[in-house]
């Protein structure tokens, strides 16, 4: 339970930190997202009830800082990020047996893919609302770039969270971890 609370706090801190991390101009202004990497770790390490709470918290924060109210309508409904996180975390949760065997690379690769999928989901929803869709080089970079960065960050995050899990005596750990 302590580890779960630590994870909730980390998600909050990561969401605040993302305000201050400038987009990378050498990557067509791709943003750096830390929160999804934490959530997708949680998807593999937490049991379903706690995972749902974590997903709700992360999605709620993301919607709170990004929801756009244009005139008298909300561009993408508050809650859509929760739904996207829930679907992607559900997929990640299906890979839990691999995680339990200590296969850390699954988390890394899937964190990147799911981060990009999250952005693709948002882009498709806002394109639907705005009535037109296009995929330029910049769009692909802004969807794929954060995914690549998440893949690079994921081993470090995985290692740090494994350490935290052990430090807080979290009972559900891989049999063969990195620490």
């Amino acid at each position: 339970m302590i580890f779960f609370l630590v994870l909730m706090v980390l998600v909050f801190v990561a969401q605040i930190a993302e305000f201050f991390i400038p987009p990378l101009d050498w990557m067509s202004n791709a943003h750096v997202y830390i929160t999804p990497v934490l959530v997708f770790y949680g998807a593999m390490a937490l049991p379903p009830p706690l995972l749902l709470v974590l997903v709700f918290w992360a999605g709620f924060l993301l919607d709170a800082v990004t929801a756009q109210i244009i005139g008298s309508h909300v561009e993408i409904s508050f809650g859509s990020s929760i739904l996207l996180y829930a679907i992607l975390a559900g997929i990640m949760h299906g890979l839990r047996p691999l995680f339990a065997r200590g296969r850390w690379e699954v988390h890394c690769i899937m964190s990147g893919i799911c981060t990009s999928a999250l952005l693709l989901g948002q882009y498709l929803m806002l394109s639907f609302r705005r009535g037109s869709i296009f995929f330029s080089r910049e769009v692909w970079w802004q969807i794929g770039g954060p995914g690549l960065l998440a893949m690079i960050m994921a081993p470090l995050v995985f290692w740090a969270l494994q350490w935290l899990a052990r430090a807080t005596a979290y009972p559900y750990l891989p049999r063969r971890g990195l620490v």
Binding site: P49, F56, F60, D63, H73, V74, F78, I82, R130, I143
Partner: protein, 266 residues
Amino acid sequence: MSRTSIVVLVLFIAALGYLFSLGAGGTRKLQANVYQFLAPFLSSGSGIQKQITSVRSNLKSLDDLQGENNSLRVENRSLKATNQALRDVEHEVNRLRHALNYRERAVFKLVPAEVVARDPSTWWRTLTINRGKQDGIESDMPVVTDEGLVGKTTTVSANITVVLLVSDENCRVATNVEGTREQGIVTGERVAGQSPLLNLNFLSKQANLQPGQKAYTSGVGGVFPPGLLIGNVKDFRARELDGQAQLVPAVDLTKLEDVFVVVGRK
């Protein structure tokens, strides 16, 4: 599936359903409350970021300092000469300003604000500023700098406000172009590269705007008062039914630190 899982799942779906059912008013209120909660964290984060940036920019090599010293000496001599000339100009400006009763002609009541955070997402271009309802700010108020239009306020909490930048596709500004009768709507691009440009749509095909022409707010729509500089024309192209110009924003939206919110007329 355990009983706990089922209970949590039901609560999850209920809460999600509630959030989905929120209208614009409810979402705005909820978002304002969350921003109010985040305000101290954003302010602290902004302070830390400024300190880090300041330390990083102060770390210069001796060669850099020597070069900077030399150029400052040259600049100092040049400024001394300019200063004398400006004294005369200042006198004349004061005289003219007095004559035109400039202060009374400045119709806007401005609230100065500091940018505390920017662009937390990929698809929407926003800023967060450290002023809110307590300072008389409301939704849909124009945000400007001395260089031109920045955007408009959207979510406003007690002492923090989200500003939708003019470079966002959702920010639409009725515009006219200097020296012409052309009117159009400026919007941002959905996905911008390193330096965002603005699209000026619904011009006539014959507009033939030239690079460097200035585009101002026309005042149509009621949100933005007329006469605020939006940007300069970069290029123009005639399309099948209308004309479209690309504008370079008057304000460098990537480096904003201080802005003014137009809260009314004097």
